[in-house]
């Protein structure tokens, strides 16, 4: 019997801010104080609030400590664990500098609804017993002993769950296609090739609750008649791969995975395939090619994987978050899941909130919540209290939405209508300092580099689009270039072979739709309204504000600032490389950005 549990976040975010040191420190300090028999230290998955890490939660009180360092450990043990006094200075600080001691009271968490992330940050991902204690594998037992495969597919249809990888295709319907495909050999695949810039929800589920994916896949396999599965995970996620492999080993040891699961005639084997991290391998046909040992390139569909997939056999591919939702749906019913969300977008969705927002991290919210609630209530608003400008939703294939869309309910339909997509759920917030032309260029650079090159529209089209964007950002663009960019964007979207090319122009198209004036300013006025495009900004010294301290001249890397303490300091604009060092270094705000 342990009287207290100390949960230390072992997600990638907290690990990089030093949670391993905190964990080791805790263990040795507890031993020193003879508390190691009374207090259990548990390493969990991601709590979502990564920028406040390393995060430590003490139960039974549920006290939430953030930014805990190794040096804080002795005080934490002595004060909280021995004497029961909360260590105020390590608590989360909310509005008006008020300390918020409990998890549930922190605004970041209070609007969330955690289903896919339900166990993340709560259980030790390396202990199958903790998953079982939280009703783990109960849903699998339920389908194997009391449901027919058809029942399972029907329940999934009732839930209204749609593919969380980006496509948004109804999961139950997808399963029914594969279930109806004839053949004794079928596969199920988990797509864990998450590659969108700014997205890390799949990684966190893999790290924090790997058994939920295994259980989800097995339920799917039973429903569709598959006996073998692959988890395709990018090799850049070493911790996720380690935890997955350990989870598979433990499930096999318990006989929950393998031959005759739970004494039934259902058998299933599961493999982890490490991908080399090519963005295109998130495309299902490319992903299957990669598992088969070929170069990861998409092929035209049909035939769809449900008919002819891995090694020509009927195959079902779902993304990590989709699979992670399955056990809860079976355990708590499809109707329960469908009670959350909007008419056509049911349940919850995990978003990775990043960019110029105060609280970056993972949030799981019911569908239908507005962008404003996510960015301002949960995310705490814009960093440095600057003005909100846009939010990029759906990764590089998504679109940029504006202030006018802040009250848009988050659902597949509403986002698509506005020109963005749900995608995998990356959400990058931008403020007034972000140039939207530059943002479009950034995302296009990514997709252009990741294009596999198989089809001409994507290979050549994205390249030409990128060249045009560079030209505009450099101040050399013309209105004809803008027209050509738009035409190319439509062409690449319509004619590319796979989703990568079909969605690559989205950032360009949405910024053209909502921020055309910024493109025109770059072309007609040769200026960048946000002051972000290097080629279009000029630095000058405001002689009234200048105190002649000389810091700018001292720090200028190209020595283009002349002057001394008696005369004026002046920037030689021809020699200036516009690095912004003087702007950042000036203590008197005397450098003007024009």
């Amino acid at each position: 019997m342990y009287r207290a549990h100390v949960l230390v976040c072992g997600g990638t975010g907290c690990t990089s801010s030093g949670s391993h040191g905190v964990m080791d420190g805790l263990k040795s300090e507890l031993k020193k104080q003879n508390l190691d028999d009374e207090i259990l230290v548990v390493q969990t998955g991601c709590h979502g609030m990564c920028e406040m890490g390393p995060i430590v939660v003490v139960y039974p009180e549920g006290t939430f400590y953030c930014r805990v360092s190794k040096d804080d450990v002795p005080e934490l043990v002595e004060e909280h664990l021995l004497k029961g006094r909360t260590v105020e200075r390590l608590l989360y600080t909310g509005e008006g500098d008020v300390h918020v001691p409990h998890y549930s009271e922190i605004p970041f968490y209070s609007k969330q609804e955690r289903v896919a992330l339900g166990n993340c940050g709560y259980i030790d991902a390396d202990k199958i017993e903790e998953y079982i204690a939280r009703d783990g594998y109960e849903a699998l037992g339920k389908v194997l002993t009391s449901m027919t495969p058809e029942d399972v597919v029907e329940e999934m249809k009732t839930s209204g769950l749609r593919g969380r990888g980006g496509g948004g295709f109804p999961t139950g319907l997808k399963w029914s296609f594969c279930a109806k495909s004839p053949g004794p050999k079928k596969y199920v695949i988990c797509n864990a090739d998450e590659g969108d810039p700014g997205a890390f929800m799949d990684r966190s589920i893999l790290e924090g609750d790997p058994h939920s994916i295994i259980e989800g896949m097995m339920i799917g396999a039973y429903a569709m008649g598959a006996d073998e599965g692959y988890i395709y995970c990018r090799a850049e996620y070493p911790l996720a791969i380690k935890r997955l492999k350990r989870a598979i080993d433990q499930a096999e040891e318990y006989g929950l995975l393998g031959e005759n699961v739970l004494g039934t005639d259902f058998s299933f084997s599961l493999h982890v395939k490490e991908g080399a991290g090519a963005f295109v391998c998130g495309e299902e046909t490319a992903l299957m090619g990669s598992i088969e040992g070929r170069r990861g390139m998409p092929r035209p569909r049909p035939p769809f994987p449900a008919v002819s997939g891995l090694w020509g056999k009927p195959t079902n591919i779902n993304n990590v978050e989709t699979w992670a939702n399955v056990p809860s749906i079976i355990r708590r019913s499809g109707a329960w899941f469908a009670s959350m969300g909007t008419e056509k977008s049911k349940g919850t969705k995990v978003f990775a909130l990043t960019g110029k927002v105060k609280h970056t991290g993972l949030v799981e919210v019911p569908m239908g919540i507005t962008l404003r609630e996510i960015i301002f209530d949960i995310g705490g608003g814009i960093l440095g209290d600057k003005k909100f400008k846009a939010v990029q939703i759906g990764g590089p294939s998504g679109g940029c939405l504006t202030e006018d869309h802040l009250d848009l309910p988050v659902s597949y339909e509403d986002l698509a209508k506005a020109g963005a997509i749900m995608g995998s759920g990356g959400m990058v917030v931008m403020d007034e300092d972000n140039c939207m032309v530059d943002v479009a260029k950034f995302f296009l650079e990514f997709t252009q580099r990741e294009s596999c090159g198989k089809c001409v529209p994507c290979r050549e089209g994205t390249k030409q689009m990128l060249l045009l964007l560079k030209k505009i950002c450099d101040g050399d663009g013309t209105m004809e270039d803008l027209a050509q960019l738009e035409e190319l964007a439509h062409m690449v979207k319509d004619m590319s072979l796979c989703g990568l090319g079909q969605t690559a122009p989205n950032p360009v198209l949405t910024t053209l739709r909502y921020f055309r004036h910024e493109y025109e300013a770059h072309i007609k006025d040769r200026s960048c309204p946000a002051g972000a495009c290097q080629a279009l900004i000029r630095y000058r010294i405001d002689q009234d504000k200048c105190k002649k301290c000389g810091l700018c001249a001292k720090n200028c890397p190209v020595n283009c600032i002349d002057g001394d303490r008696k005369t004026q300091f002046v920037i030689d604009e021809d020699a200036c490389v516009r690095c912004g060092t003087c702007y950042d270094k000036c203590p008197f705000d005397a450098i003007l950005k024009l």
Partner: protein
């Protein structure tokens, strides 16, 4: 570890595993031991050990044990509080390890207050 061969076996493992995460839920009977300097000096650690041992022995799942600092009744230490759902907070004073089995069996398990040891009570 043995293979799980049926849903019933899985549920048995769940029951035995549930105390792994039980301390992380909050719907439990709470036992709170005063562990200020005064409490520790008066022997609160031994009381705490006895509490944990007793809970273990009885296999109680839905009990959480917490510590608290000095509440100003130093002369009555060791102090042990029991918060039973809907029954207010009861404070026992000058608790010895020998008192613990009685408090646990009477109050924690059966909800009957051990009147002769009570020094304070706070109603809901």
């Amino acid at each position: 570890m043995a293979k799980i061969k049926s849903l019933d076996e899985l549920r048995r493992i769940k029951t035995s595993a549930s105390d792994l995460t039980a301390a992380r839920s909050s719907n439990a009977v709470k036992v709170i031991v005063g562990m200020g300097t005064c409490g520790i000096a008066a022997g609160a650690r031994e009381v705490m050990d006895a509490v944990l041992k007793e809970i273990d022995k009885r296999g109680l799942k839905d009990v959480s044990v917490q510590t608290t600092g000095c509440i100003g009744m130093c002369q009555e230490e060791p102090l042990l509080d029991v918060i039973y759902p809907n029954k207010g907070r009861i404070t026992y004073g000058r608790v010895t390890p020998e008192d613990v089995p009685r408090i646990v069996s009477e109050h924690v398990v059966n909800g009957r207050i051990v009147e002769d040891l009570v020094i304070a009570r706070v109603d809901d």
